[in-house]
């Protein structure tokens, strides 16, 4: 999350909507584990990653759809013999990716903060 936060905040400043893709399940030798994130702007810009680079393009197109519909979706990528040359994972394994439209964050807190240090 921390690694994509800067890009998210930059895109928001530019008035762009943002979708966030998160690995919520990783099995086998998947290259990135649970919590790995790819942020996508409405212009198709990307920050971060959810795999070694093999499914990001597909996730990006799905994310643009999610921004259009406003509905989150769960994607599943698994390596299969006929997928190896398409969107299969170069490292093998199976991943599930949750893609959601990101709500805007307010610049200033407009409510009491919990757990202030």
């Amino acid at each position: 999350m921390r690694d994509v936060l800067e890009a998210i905040q930059k895109w928001r400043k530019e008035g762009k909507r943002v979708a966030l893709a998160t690995v919520v399940k990783a099995e086998g030798s998947a290259p990135r584990r649970e919590g790995a994130r790819l942020a996508i702007s409405e212009d198709g810009e990307m920050a971060g990653s959810v795999s070694g680079g093999c499914v990001e393009t597909d996730v990006m197109y799905q994310a643009l759809d999610v921004l259009k519909s406003g509905e989150p979706r769960l994607l599943r990528y698994a390596i299969t013999d006929d997928m190896v040359w398409e969107v299969g994972l170069a490292c093998g394994g199976t991943i599930e990716v949750w893609v959601e439209p990101l709500p805007e964050a307010s610049a200033e807190p407009e409510f009491p903060q919990e757990e202030k240090p």
Partner: protein
């Protein structure tokens, strides 16, 4: 509890992550409420938002608090609620504390920042500890070690490196940080230097068991020669210690015949 908007949850989450405060986020992937509903859980046990069912909330809060002890992310099934929830803990970033603003500390700070560490430089010599040399450090403390440690919170995610080569600074620094539960303490110097240091400090009543835990000579065996390479060897050692890894060649781990290794790469 009062209604919390997705926007408020997002704002609180981003602020906590940016400020390095511990928080957990739970996202409903499937269940009683609307998919995508999120809830934050704070170390105090307080929650912000709801997943749509008070009993499910209670269960998830308890699990999130447990997960904070060993921060991670995972999808969890709650079959009584026909719910699937992705819970992720966002711990404070690891903290690298460098005693000695020497040449090696400059590339070491660069590596640590790239890896997401907060970096503090402590050195009483202002010629070494200054913003011109360390524009990329989070904090510079131009104080003697005894004084500097008063401003540093030491815990399992604190990684401490002692680099001055000067016993006047190195030894008080070791004395100040040992036994405080740091995740790693490493000190520069040859095997001989460290043996002499060890002997002197043991004479001054420092527990030899604590001294034995110091990584010295410091760094992985990369054949490092330049300050940059030495910094890389130190950083790599810290990463290995943090993950409890053996730091050998990947190739030599679980060796298997290359011909059958069809799924490698990436």
């Amino acid at each position: 509890m009062t209604e919390v908007s997705p926007r408020q949850i997002q704002t609180q989450l981003e602020q906590a992550v940016a400020e390095g405060r511990m928080v957990a986020q739970a996202t409903l992937l499937r269940g009683p409420g609307r998919a995508g509903t999120r809830m934050l859980v704070w170390p105090s046990g307080q929650q912000t938002g709801s997943l749509g069912h008070p009993e499910l909330d209670r269960r998830v809060v308890a699990d999130a608090l447990e997960m904070m002890k060993r921060p991670r992310a995972e999808s969890r099934e709650y079959s009584e609620f026909d719910a699937r929830v992705f819970v992720e803990v966002f711990p404070p970033p690891p903290h690298l504390v460098i005693f000695g603003g020497v040449h090696i500390a400059i590339p070491l700070t660069t590596f640590a920042k790239t890896l997401g560490y907060r970096v503090t430089i402590a050195d009483p010599r202002r010629k070494f500890a200054n913003r011109e040399r360390f524009p990329h450090a989070d904090e510079i403390i131009p104080e003697w070690p005894q004084k500097a440690v008063e401003r540093i919170e030491i815990g399992p995610t604190t990684y401490i490196v002692i680099l001055t080569h000067d016993p006047k600074i190195d030894e008080p620094a070791l004395k100040a940080v040992l036994g405080k539960g740091a995740g790693y303490v490493g000190a520069i110097g040859s095997r001989k230097t460290h043996a002499e240091r060890f002997e002197r400090m043991a004479k001054h009543g420092i527990d030899p068991a604590q001294l034995a835990e110091v990584y010295a000579p410091i760094g992985l065996d990369l054949g490092a020669e330049t300050p940059e390479e030495i910094a890389l060897a130190i950083m790599a050692e810290i990463v290995a210690v943090r993950h409890g890894a053996s730091a050998g060649f990947m190739r030599d781990k679980n060796p298997r015949p290359v011909a059958f290794d069809s799924g490698s790469g990436g």
